[in-house]
């Protein structure tokens, strides 16, 4: 067996390409069988399901082969040579799978295949009439990516020049922990939007456009939305920690493209409730799902075509043509199906009152779509101006910040107000009672902010120079000046609304039962998971808004210091102690050490640095050093260090309230977990299915929580790791386990295993306690 390994190794590139062809053939076969199953041959559905599983297995095979090529340093393969070298650790060799365009497309296809397998498994025995067309639609998407890789971006393509001695290695900017977690989480969100899209197409094709398919996709879309949220926030964290410009969101075209589907998905998870209850907004919901999927492809198109330059962009290639064609195909098919089914999509209900939750959700949808459209237009503005005027004109962060602020404030206000309305209509008395306490809280916070804000370092009004001239500029400037005041007030309004909803629900339960406070709270959430999970998500988003608002109070100072000289900013006093040089196998590191004091208290040192990679043609990379608290982050970047005189230039930022963004996303994930928790009863599905479903939700969310929470620990651990490795020889080759896990903080790898095991244990425990509560033992089920 070992003797045949070299033979396999020789034919690996061809075999890998063959596997991609097999994926295409399998997807085409499964598509054909699915369509046949949907058109009057239901016996073929099982064949279609098995074909889908087989396609998934083939994609997994492709990923394993590419991973093998990286591990064995098969530099005959162009992609392996371009994105790895012999000095990289095993972890980064694996992450190089998605480090470049070709591999990231295969990774996308792999995640899609996992979703397909999970969806097909979940569909067993359910939605029988929709199933064939769901599978067929997913196979079309698989087929597109297979064609794309085979004819434009083949990850197994060999170099014309043959095998090299060593590869180029991964871009130093990508050699960090975030490369491991940000792309997979964002791709999980992107790819997850394919499942609801497939259901929408199936519903349109079959004409089953009532609430059946809406109920089916609800949790799939929520799961994808959760990972879109996490992926975007991890991207923010990455930019904040690695890029060194002092912020977390630069309105980069690829950042914008990643958040576009989040807006439409958010609109959908709200408007779907209207269709479920009132049988209206059918066309709107179908449109939102199709648009969400379209935007995931559009975002990928923007990233990879290179049409708009970005720090993320891969080199311009011909895959833009393929993506453009596929987007045109999506628009044509979706548009055609919607027009064909318009009679069936006609609403059977209507919005009867302006003062109703339906109306509030519709307005919220418009605000979200408005934000999405604004960002999409501004991002593609260079293309628009080039088309009409012959030259590209770009818009930068100040433009986005100016106009997105009022849109964001509208969304925040609606987020707070909508839960206070009743379905169908709300009486004036009910409305007054509902709004009274949250409004009082909001006004109280507003007054306190006005009075005490400045003394606390968070002034209520922040007047920046006008962005535009004239009356428009004056109005925009004033609105921006009071934005912090309004944001903080609306965040408090949102918190008060959520508290009131919980309090009213608990009180209502306790009036009708003898439950205690905690039991009533637990039962309330258990019986209305979607509602209260949504409220928890609102709290998370409110905290994130608070974090974003901190930008209004940020301070920045540049200083050129000799050793023992100090600079003061935002209450911090930083004293430059001197610089030091360290080396390891792959780079030189120049640290500038600074003592930090605040209010007479000594704080931990900061060590901003420059790294100079041996293999890279890039200049030195900037390594940020931070001290993080709830109130603010001290963020220090070193510019230049004169080795002889020791003079160093620094850029020092004090960024208030940034921590609330990261805390907010953790709470958002928790709320999503509550909403995603299976809402079938134990009796309906049996203990094993319940435990499985619960474990799936729990492990997914725990994994997301661990990914979200581990960057901070990872940074510290990585820095300690770097210091230990500095000026030492490379350790001899270690056994599999140690080599695979060496350079990643132990907490993360074990955390991944803990999350899956923990999810299974939690799911099993909940199922077992549920079975005891319901008085029946676990029974085997046929699901």
């Amino acid at each position: 067996m070992l003797g045949s390994v070299p033979v396999l190794w020789e034919s690996l590139p061809e075999f890998g390409t063959g596997v991609l062809y097999a994926v295409l053939v399998a997807a085409a076969y499964t598509f054909a069988v699915s369509v046949a199953a949907g058109r009057g041959r239901p016996r073929l559905l099982q064949s279609a399901r098995l074909g889908a599983y087989g396609t998934t297995a083939l994609v997994l095979l492709g990923v394993l082969l590419l991973a093998y090529a990286f591990i064995t340093h098969d530099f005959r393969i162009r992609y392996v040579a371009r994105y790895s070298d012999r000095s990289m650790t095993t972890t980064y060799l694996f992450t190089s799978l998605w480090g470049g365009q070709d591999g990231s497309l295969l990774w996308w296809l792999f995640l899609l295949s996992l979703y397909i397998a999970a969806c097909v498994r979940w569909l067993e025995g359910k939605y029988r009439l929709l199933q064939p067309y769901v599978i067929a639609t997913l196979m079309v998407i698989v087929g597109f990516f297979a064609v794309l890789m085979l004819y434009s971006a083949n990850p197994f393509e060999t170099s014309m020049a043959g095998a090299r001695v060593d590869g180029d290695g991964l871009n130093p900017l990508l050699r960090n922990y975030y490369m491991i977690i940000h792309p997979p989480s964002l791709y999980t969100g992107f790819v997850g939007c394919s499942i609801p899209f497939a259901f929408a197409i199936a519903a349109l094709v079959t004409g089953r456009l009532d609430s059946e398919w809406i109920v089916a996709v609800r949790k799939w879309m929520l799961f994808a939305w959760m990972f879109l949220s996490l992926g975007n926030v991890l991207g923010m964290k990455w930019a904040y920690e690695e890029l060194g410009w002092g912020g977390y969101w630069a309105w980069d075209p690829v950042e914008n493209a990643a958040c576009l589907p989040w807006f439409t998905a958010t609109a959908y998870v709200h408007s779907t409730m209207i269709q479920e209850r009132r049988n209206t907004l059918k066309v709107w919901n179908v449109f939102l799902i199709c648009m969400t999927f379209f935007l995931t492809i559009f975002g990928t198109f923007l990233t990879r075509s290179g049409m708009i330059s970005s720090v993320h962009s891969f080199a311009q290639s011909d895959i833009g043509t393929y993506f453009a064609g596929f987007m045109g195909f999506i628009v044509a098919v979706c548009g055609g199906l919607i027009v064909w089914r318009l009679p069936l999509l006609k609403s059977q209900g209507r919005i009867e009152a302006v003062l109703s939750r339906e109306a509030a959700f519709v307005v919220n949808n418009w605000a979200l779509l408005g934000g999405c459209t604004f960002i999409a237009l501004a991002t593609t503005w260079p293309l628009v101006t080039e088309f009409f005027q012959g030259q590209q004109a770009t818009v930068g962060p100040p433009f986005y910040n100016r106009w997105m602020t009022p849109i964001g404030i509208c969304i925040l206000a609606l987020m707070g107000a909508a839960p206070l309305f009743g379905w169908r209509k709300t009486s004036n008395l009910s409305l007054k009672r509902a709004f009274r306490n949250p409004t009082l809280v909001m006004l109280g916070v507003l007054i306190l902010h006005l009075i005490f804000g400045t003394s606390l370092g968070f002034p209520a009004v922040v007047l920046d120079p006008p962005t535009y001239n004239g009356a428009v500029g004056w109005v925009v400037q004033r609105l921006a000046a009071i934005a912090p005041l309004i944001t903080v007030a609306l965040v408090s309004f949102n918190f008060a609304v959520v508290f009131q909803e919980f309090q009213r629900g608990v009180s209502a339960r306790r009036r009708n039962s003898s439950e205690g406070l905690v039991e009533a709270l637990f039962t309330l959430v258990r019986k209305s998971r979607r509602r209260y999970g949504g409220y928890i998500v609102h709290v998370g988003i409110g905290l994130m808004y608070l974090g974003f608002c901190g930008k209004a109070w940020e301070l920045e100072k540049e200083a050129s210091l000799l050793p023992q000289e100090s600079a003061e900013v935002g209450g911090y006093k930083l004293t430059y102690k001197g610089s030091r040089r360290e080396v390891d196998q792959e780079k030189q590191m120049i640290f500038a050490d600074m003592d930090v004091e605040k209010g007479g208290r000594t704080l931990p040192q900061v060590h901003p640095a420059k790294f100079i990679y041996n293999e890279s043609n890039m200049g030195p990379t900037t390594e940020v050093s931070q001290l993080n608290t709830l109130r603010d982050d001290l963020y220090v970047v070193v510019g230049t260090i004169d080795v002889e005189s020791k003079r160093a230039t620094f850029r020092i930022h004090v960024n208030p309230l940034v921590a609330f963004i990261w805390i907010g996303v953790m709470i958002l994930l928790s709320g999503a977990a509550v909403s995603l928790w299976p809402d079938v009863s134990l009796r309906e599905v049996g203990a094993w299915s319940y435990a499985r479903a619960a474990a799936g939700v729990t492990s997914g969310v725990m994994f997301a929580l661990i990914m979200a929470s581990s960057p901070a620990a990872a940074v510290e651990s990585a820095r300690d790791h770097l210091k230990r490795e500095a000026a030492t020889l490379r350790a001899p080759e270690r056994p599999l386990a140690a080599a695979a896990f060496a350079s990643v903080p132990p907490g993360d790898w074990s955390g991944s295993g803990v999350s899956i095991l923990g999810g299974l244990l939690i799911g099993a425990a909940v199922a077992w306690s549920g079975s005891r509560r319901e008085g029946s033992g676990p029974r085997s089920d046929h699901g």
Partner: protein, 200 residues
């Protein structure tokens, strides 16, 4: 003549669905630890390749009609009608209405009005569901009776054919009363356990 598979092997097949992947992972771990990560990956790749071939082959078997209809397939053919889904939506709406009344978001007059509307809608849908399902239910009962009679006839020793014949005659009579052709075998054989072609 059907090939008789030994009882123990027949029982082993369903367990292969989880045992085979587990075995591959264990083997890959052992080989990877001894000979390097590359061989471990290749071992898993080999297992995945075998799995994909088995899945595609099982899918093709279904095309040719070799695989019998499983119990799960037969049950899943009774897909919920759109009326059933609407019924569930109406019941959800009623549940929300009760909640909103309990927390005071809706006054009693509006509650009474809306509750009456949803309840009548639910009654209408329940009637529609019953009307849709009634003939299917009767047909399913009749098919089941025929199958049981056929099984009894196959298992009964010789000499008891008269009683079996009379059972079949009564079934045929029932079928004619319902307008169905009792000799038309439109339903495929139903297997209790998934065949080897079933999904892992």
């Amino acid at each position: 003549m059907a090939l008789r598979v030994p009882f123990s092997v027949q029982n082993l097949v369903p367990h292969l669905r989880w045992a085979a992947p587990l075995g591959v992972v264990v083997l890959a771990s052992v080989l990877g630890n001894h000979f390097g990560l590359g061989l471990g990956l290749l071992t898993i790749a080999g297992g995945v390749l075998c799995g994909s071939i088995w899945l595609i082959w099982s899918s093709l078997q279904g095309l040719s009609g070799d695989a019998p209809l499983t119990l799960e397939e037969a049950i899943s053919m009774g897909a919920p009608s759109s009326e059933e889904e609407q019924k569930r939506a109406v019941l959800r709406a009623l549940k929300d209405l009760e909640y909103e009344r309990a927390v005071g978001k809706i006054n009693e007059a509006d509650y009474a009005n809306l509750a009456e509307h949803y309840r009548s809608e639910a009654k209408r849908l329940l009637r529609a569901v019953d009307e849709t399902l009634a003939p299917e239910r009767e047909r399913a009962e009749q098919i089941l009776a025929e199958r049981l009679a056929a099984r009894d006839a196959a298992e009964a020793p010789e000499g008891t054919g008269a009683s079996t014949d009379s059972a079949e005659d009564s079934n045929r009579a029932g079928s004619r009363a319902n307008g169905a052709d009792p000799d038309e075998s439109s339903e495929p054989a139903v297997a209790k356990r998934p065949s080897s072609g079933a999904a892992p």
